[in-house]
């Protein structure tokens, strides 16, 4: 091979599980890179374990014993000869200590530098830094975080306020406090959650902007000083501060605001010398069209596929290439958006009782398909959804020529989705899609609390459903159930890689 042509890496370890691990493995496969999965005892039969070229058991089901254990992950990388580690999202993704440990082991961490992560990961320090870089901030307080200081800050800012874990993200250790009486208990609970999730109980306080929109900008930066933004994602449809529907472009933005916010996001990234893919989250007041920096997520986002569908760029492949030192070949002017993309997150949860996570075994799973439909999932029939990990089952992503067509396509896709065996938010998502406020494109982060609460599934039981149940007792279609495709030795397993495997061919 001529010296000037080298593949970015020959082997990458995927330090994650579920749909995102499968997504990362696919990117590796397309780039001719061998993928190594890590798995916990609970995931011995998981899709990502079966999908990867190699798989290494790293510990017990508890995340702290496996996916959060950086030493075991680094050991697995070294043993398997991987040159780089992709953390996905969650787990080790935003932990500067992990990035450092990977670097110390002379391996490449596919993500930003530990310094950039540290700078953005500490919400208190990030606010200070962003203020200096001229990025607009929500009124708030970061500093001494004893209960008394927080109380005073909350009074100064004015209720409602938002308590946030200084170390955190993703809605964990976060509480909206409506009035002073609730503050103390909220601080206690938020600190406990923050301690559990991030090992750090520190809090900051921000003004809680009611009726705001959550709009984020995807950025991509190489190690040669080029930083691009890949436009926005509208993520206002949230429950418990966690997104369930995302779309792009945002119905709120026009080209002018898009440009200003894009530039602010690039400035935010450049302020911490950011390299690789990242997302700058803003909240936008729909009345004044003012926007404020919320935080920067120093990793791949769950909702990255809608940006991929709209811009045509494969973000994961670019992450890998940037980590290998490649230069971005595009300029901001060369990027464009096409059509409209929406993602719905299919969760194992019960929207009728406070979105409590649900558990169970996936007895039947038939993802939707067809033109413009993409499904990123980490499940198969027989997958057990347990208590240990995030209850995200699959992401259903659609792209169509405009927003109404995309909504229509998503409704069709969700209706076609067959997932049986546990409670999911599928029908809730369908109800959101047809809600007038959503269809108008004016939903704010308060949408679910205001318009979809309480929500109850349709209790009407059609006679045909009973007939189907009764007939199935005799006319068993059983074979698609839990006992299919779970065995390691299953020759039909879609993920078993057989060398020179040729279907139906006489040898």
């Amino acid at each position: 091979m001529p010296p000037e042509i080298q593949p970015p890496f020959s082997k990458i370890l995927i330090a994650n599980r579920g749909e995102i691990a499968v997504r990362l493995i696919r990117a590796c496969r397309e780039m001719g890179i061998v993928s190594v999965a890590v798995y916990s005892e609970a995931d011995a039969n998981a899709l990502h374990t079966r999908t990867a070229d190699e798989a290494v058991l790293i510990g017990a089901a508890e995340a702290s014993e496996s996916y959060l254990n950086i030493e075991r992950v680094v050991d697995a990388a070294k043993e398997s000869g991987a040159e780089a580690i992709h953390p996905g999202y969650g787990f080790l993704a935003e932990n500067p200590g992990s990035a450092q440990a990977v670097a110390d082991a002379s391996l490449t961490f596919i993500g930003p530098s530990p310094e950039a992560m540290r700078a953005m990961g500490d919400k208190a320090a990030a606010r200070t830094l962003m203020g200096k870089a001229g990025v607009p901030l929500v009124p708030g307080y970061q500093g001494e975080d004893d209960d008394e200081s927080l109380q005073k800050a909350a009074n100064d800012i004015g209720y409602p306020v938002l308590l946030k874990a200084a170390a955190g993200g993703g809605g964990k250790g976060m509480r909206v406090v409506e009035n002073p009486d609730e503050l103390e208990e909220a601080i206690g609970a938020a600190r406990r959650e923050a301690q559990n999730a991030f090992g750090d109980p520190r809090m900051i306080v921000e003004k809680y902007v009611t009726n705001a929109r959550h709009v984020e900008i995807q950025v991509l930066a190489d190690s040669h000083g080029n930083t691009l933004h890949l436009f926005e994602r509208e993520c206002s449809i949230q429950r418990r501060h966690q997104k369930i529907i995302e779309e792009t472009p945002s119905p709120l933005l026009d080209d002018e605001l898009r440009d200003v916010m894009g530039k602010a996001a690039v400035a935010a990234a450049e302020a911490v010398s950011y390299v690789n893919a990242g997302t700058v989250e803003f909240i936008v007041d729909p009345d004044t069209r003012q926007f404020y920096f919320l935080e920067m997520n120093t990793r791949l986002q769950v909702e990255h596929p809608i940006t991929e569908m709209l811009t045509g760029l494969d973000l994961v492949q670019w992450q890998i290439r940037i980590a290998a030192g490649e230069k971005l070949p595009l300029t901001q002017d060369e990027l464009s958006m096409r059509g409209h993309a929406i993602e719905c997150r299919l969760y194992a949860e019960d929207p009728a009782s406070g979105f409590l996570p649900a558990t169970g075994i996936i007895l039947a799973w038939q993802p939707p398909d067809g033109p413009g439909v993409r499904v990123d999932s980490g499940i198969s029939a027989g997958t057990e959804v347990g208590v240990y990990y995030d209850p995200l089952l699959a992401k259903i992503i659609v792209q169509a020529e405009d927003r109404p067509a995309a909504i229509q396509k998503m409704r069709t896709a969700l209706r076609d989705t067959v997932v049986l065996g546990l409670t999911t938010n599928r029908e809730f998502l369908l109800d959101v899609l047809v809600h007038e406020t959503f269809q108008k494109g004016t939903a704010t982060t308060a949408f679910i609390a205001q318009h979809m609460n309480p929500w109850l599934p349709d209790e009407y039981v059609p006679v045909e459903a009973l007939i189907a149940a009764a007939i199935s007792e005799f006319h068993s279609p059983s074979n698609t159930g839990a006992n299919l495709s779970t065995s390691e030795n299953d020759p039909y397993s879609p993920w078993k890689r057989l060398k020179g495997f040729r279907m139906g061919m006489g040898q």
Partner: protein, 164 residues
């Protein structure tokens, strides 16, 4: 033969009779002939009154899950005489159960304590989320069934309160 399904606390009886070219199915006062087509991919194709319907059905223990026309339904097939389930759902009886499987993070009360309706008694953690178990009536905590750090199944009894 008669089959019974429990849905949302209501019982539905389905009478099924196998005959020439299909089943005669009676639900309530409606009766129809149902033809069954392929069932190879887990889908049942039903011809009911000239109308073609596609359904997916999955079974686990007593649970029956049905997908039909884009909607999902969950039924319970009661075994023998027992038609419980409906009663167990009812609140206000002072017995607090785990709403989902998880780990007991913190117990905030002791046996014998007087508790108020709405008071947080115990913190349960599952999927990195904290769930507060709150008293559903005023009274005295009679029994504490779990300890901190213990893992519990869904519907496990956590605490018992006696009204008063």
């Amino acid at each position: 033969m008669r089959l019974s399904y429990l849905a949302n606390g209501h019982n539905h009886d389905v009478d099924l009779e196998k005959g020439e070219g299909g089943y005669r199915v009676t639900v309530g006062d409606s009766s129809q002939v149902v033809q069954v087509n392929s069932s190879t991919d887990g889908a049942l194709q039903l011809l009911i009154d000239g109308k073609m319907l596609k359904a997916h059905v999955a079974a686990e223990g007593k649970q029956r899950y049905v997908w039909l026309n884009g909607k999902s339904y969950s039924f319970e097939k009661p075994s023998g005489s027992a038609r419980r389930g409906a009663a167990a759902e009812a609140g206000g009886d002072g017995i607090l159960r785990a709403p989902m499987p998880g780990q007991v993070r913190q117990v905030l009360v002791n046996e014998g304590d007087q508790v108020e309706n709405g008071q947080t008694l115990l913190l349960l953690e599952a999927m990195k989320m904290e769930i507060r178990i709150q008293a559903n009536l005023d009274g005295k905590l009679m029994k504490l069934h779990v300890a901190e750090g213990q893992t519990v199944d869904k519907d496990a009894t956590l605490l018992e309160i006696e009204e008063g």
